[in-house]
């Protein structure tokens, strides 16, 4: 099939940026979206033109590196799918596609579709861990953990840290991202000990990194390629209250 692409091009954070139009003349439905872009880039490179920069690595939907807004939707809007796992059979011959980067104050643009997500790192560094040392810990089976709690923790832990939640939120809030880590650790006995300190520190770090507040739009859940549930935000709020009262 043949497609017309409108792609955001921006040379660094200080450039203004603009949409430019490209043809994808020979797209196979079995290709992934990024393989389609690879072909466009190959054609550009052959002509000696600057290729479209975009972040990607695993191309398996797990590293969280790929990050594009396609036709206004983070990762293209297919349920539980990262852009690297989006396939061209979802599109039709003659389609026009708009491709843009994550847009948020906390994510300065590096080039074209690639952004700087250091803010997310700061949130984890503030407290997204249990403070155990290497060695000197108890046997893995010393503390039985109910299957329900283990499954709940795993549901939260599936977050790949791509930032689609931030990109899709009208406030550019990183609440879903933060809450997933808070909830995972709060429900496990190993993480409970530091739960109060953790929730305070992580929410504070989110503020400092220019992420906005959560006002319950829940666009994040719809955009999340791992289906992280907004119930974790409710959990974070409960943990936050508990910490405040203490």
């Amino acid at each position: 099939m043949k497609l017309k692409l409108h792609v955001w091009r921006q040379n660094g954070p200080n450039d203004k940026g603009r949409l430019e139009t490209y043809e994808a003349p020979d797209v196979s439905p079995d290709q992934s979206f990024l393989e389609m872009l690879d072909d466009v880039n190959q054609a550009l490179a052959k002509e000696g033109r600057d290729i479209i920069a975009f972040d990607h690595d695993c191309r398996e939907g797990i590293c969280g590196m790929c990050s594009q807004v396609i036709n206004g939707k983070a990762h293209g809007g297919q349920e539980r799918t990262t852009v690297c796992q989006l396939h061209m059979r979802e599109f039709n011959d003659g389609d026009e596609i708009y491709i843009e980067p994550w847009k948020a104050k906390a994510f300065p643009i590096i080039k074209d579709l690639a952004v700087d997500r250091t803010g997310l790192e700061k949130i984890i560094q503030a407290g997204g861990y249990t403070s155990c040392h290497t060695g000197g810990v108890a046997d893995g089976n010393a503390l039985p953990i109910g299957k329900e709690a283990a499954d709940y923790a795993m549901d939260a832990a599936e977050c790949i840290g791509c930032g689609a939640c931030v990109a899709s939120c009208p406030n550019s809030s990183a609440m879903l991202f933060t809450s997933a880590k808070v909830a995972q650790l709060a429900v496990l006995p190993q993480g409970k000990v530091e739960a109060h300190r953790r929730v305070m520190a992580m929410t504070e770090a989110a503020k400092e990194s220019d992420f906005g507040n959560c006002t319950n739009h829940y666009e994040c859940q719809a955009a999340c390629p791992k289906g992280i549930d907004v119930k974790f935000i409710a959990k974070l709020n409960r943990e936050y209250l508990k910490a405040l009262i203490k």
Binding site: G127, Y129, T134
Partner: protein
């Protein structure tokens, strides 16, 4: 030269404990005077950087992605082994040790493998303490599954995302140290040279991938934990950015490359669909727990829908050929068996390069819900890529390049032949011999990072003066100039072939001539083609853009330049090794029924290659392998 692995002697059961006791320590007050560079933040590098930072060293850690959490360890699906024996099914440290030695086709060092088996149990405990949500049973205890090459259930898992959860555990420990100020992280940095002064590793040269700046970093020791090199085949299950570059730059500075021909072709990947494909996707080996591999018995049936082929016309070839291990035969064996069926014209799907992996009987036995619980995310991924529902029709799979058992040579302390240069995880050659068993790479990465390097690096640091040589030394300047000169050269060729075009060409040669089956003839062909492609590269390459920006074409070109030198050494190693063992299968050396035939008389050694320049004969150094605790035997899974 005969290399010495410096393995402890005496009873193997106590070898690691004795070695730890005998290794020198660094006084706690002195630790903060030492700076350690850690390139790579995957399981091996992430665990190492976090543990060393916690001990009080100053650590600087580097990765090419935008976050340490995105190292390709994240993609591991199936699980991690440990000799806990929780299921009470007969496991022990000795059994894990034995299975790993045998699985590696008797081409690994006994002492290293013993240590791995011994610390495997600590890893699980460590991860649980970090909050890694391993699968548990209804009583709340850790659950296990089985993996290829073992008859006990010793694999711990977190749904189909075990690597992700373990890496996020290591990443959280690393983040804690960043906060504590002991670790400094440098993301979007690519190491492009190792700085060696008077034969000792003293630092690295990196390119800042956002600004193009060439940066120098000094350290009292350098750790490489930079992953594997199977992207030399172009299409593989590795991430797009995985490369041999860091390891190869070290090789060019004198580090030996050991057993590069030991590459693993994983049996269960989604078959290739077209020419424009950029990578292959693994379907976890855990799927073989419940899935059954088959092809039609009759060539005429291959085009039919699988459901129309009656039971008696299906050839469950693994169950037929290897009755005691069946679908859980080790990877090298399962891959070759799949290739055999397809070579016999009984493959299925496009191009007839595929075999079925069927869940019908498992669904009948335990129900679709249980299968969904066990493998849901894998079935989902399969459907996204192929648009087929594997609950209703069998998956189609085919082998693909997956893992590199070979890597930089290291001694028992994980130190290379270049003093001060340590190598961990998939980047070294140490424990998997000629074939790696499933769920043992995660184990190795974390063992090296959490429980080996924190002890062994002290033995080295105790012998050096902290900060003796820093980045104002002339070698750093020279290294930066060399790196810059190569970048300028890549940008100035201005030919007509893009890096990915040339990489595809190299990949095709490697897959066809140096892939699942190798012969003298195919290897000689490869050795003729690789230098031709390399010449083409240096004469006809086209890299658009400049150095002073985020330039992915430039990154790819640099990585390919290294693959093109490395590939030749890989093929040479394969040609020199006149035997079949593990992932290295020479068609000249097989039994009547097509099984690998080892030659212990002549090849029971590690082949460590010293690079002498592109197109120049590399020098072979040998480390003889001694087996004192297991008997060298023909590896049988029948």
């Amino acid at each position: 030269m005969i290399l010495d692995g410096k393995c402890p002697t005496g009873p193997i059961e106590t070898s690691w404990d004795r070695h730890r006791f005998e290794t020198k320590l660094v006084n706690p007050a002195n630790k903060r005077k030492f700076k350690i560079l850690c390139v790579g933040t995957g399981l091996a590098g992430g665990a190492a950087a976090a543990s060393l930072g916690e001990l009080g060293y100053q650590v600087e850690a580097f990765c090419y992605q935008d976050s340490a959490r995105r190292a390709h360890s994240i993609a591991a699906q199936g699980g991690i082994n440990a000799a806990k024996n929780y299921p009470n099914d007969g496991d022990s440290i000795y059994r894990l040790f034995y299975d790993t030695i045998k699985g590696g086709d008797f081409r690994a060092r006994e002492a290293d493998v013993w240590r791995l088996a011994q610390v495997s149990n600590n890893i699980i405990d460590q991860c649980v303490a970090q909050g890694v949500p391993f699968a548990r049973d209804y009583a709340g205890y850790l659950d296990n599954r089985s993996f290829g090459g073992a008859q006990v259930s010793r694999t711990f898992y977190a749904r189909g995302q075990t690597g992700q959860q373990l890496l996020l555990g290591a990443y959280s420990a690393l983040s804690r140290q960043v906060k504590a100020g002991t670790v400094k992280l440098y993301e979007r940095r690519e190491m492009l040279d190792l700085v060696v002064v008077d034969g000792v590793a003293r630092g690295i040269t990196c390119r800042n991938m956002v600004t193009g700046e060439i940066e120098s970093y000094w350290g009292d020791a350098v750790i490489l934990a930079t992953g594997g090199y199977v992207n030399v085949f172009y299409l593989s299950t590795n991430a797009m950015g995985c490369s041999v570059t860091a390891a190869w730059k070290a090789a060019k500075k004198g580090a030996y490359m050991a057993n590069p021909c030991y590459t693993q072709i994983h049996p269960t990947c989604i078959p290739q669909h077209g020419e424009h494909q950029s990578k292959l996707t693994l379907m976890s080996e855990s799927l073989r727990n419940d899935g059954r591999c088959w092809v039609p018995k009759k060539v005429d049936d291959c085009e039919k829908a699988p459901g129309d082929i009656p039971e008696e016309d299906r050839d469950y070839y693994l169950e037929r050929k290897y009755p005691s291990f069946g679908n859980l035969a080790p990877r090298d064996i399962a891959s070759r068996a799949a290739k055999e069926q397809c070579d016999d014209n009984r493959g299925v799907g496009p191009g007839k390069r595929g075999v079925y992996l069927d869940y019908q009987s498992a669904i009948e036995r335990v129900g679709e819900d249980t299968i969904r619980e066990r493998y849901g995310n894998l079935f989902e991924m399969y459907e996204k890529i192929t648009a087929e529902n594997a609950y209703q029709q069998p998956m189609r799979i085919y082998p693909a390049p997956h893992y590199s058992m070979g890597g930089l040579w290291v001694d028992y302390n994980c130190m290379s032949n270049v003093p001060g240069l340590f190598v961990l995880g998939e980047a070294n050659f140490s424990v998997h011999g000629a074939n790696r068993l499933g769920a043992s790479a995660l184990m190795q990465g974390l063992a090296d990072g959490y429980f080996v390097i924190p002890y062994t690096i002290a033995g080295y640091l105790a012998t050096v003066k902290p900060g003796e040589i820093k980045d104002d030394h002339a070698e750093f300047k020279k290294s930066a100039e060399d790196v810059k000169a190569q970048i300028d050269q890549l940008l100035s060729i201005d030919g007509n072939k893009t890096p990915s075009e040339l990489h595809r060409e190299l990949g095709k040669v490697m897959w066809e001539d140096v892939g699942m089956a190798r012969s003298k003839e195919s290897l000689e062909h490869a050795l003729q083609r690789i230098p031709e492609i390399r010449d083409d590269f240096w004469n006809n390459l086209k890299v658009v853009g400049s150095n002073e920006e985020y330039n992915q074409e430039l990154e790819n070109a640099g990585r390919l330049a290294d693959f093109l030198e490395f590939a030749e050494v890989l093929a040479k190693d394969a040609l020199h090794r006149e035997e079949s063992c593990g992932g290295h299968f020479r068609t000249e050396h097989q039994t009547e029924d097509g099984e690998a035939m080892r030659n212990d008389e002549d090849y029971c050694y590690v082949a460590a290659w010293e690079f002498k320049g592109a197109g120049v004969e590399p020098e072979l150094h040998k480390e003889p392998l001694k087996f004192e605790n297991v008997k060298l035997a023909v590896r049988s899974y029948k």
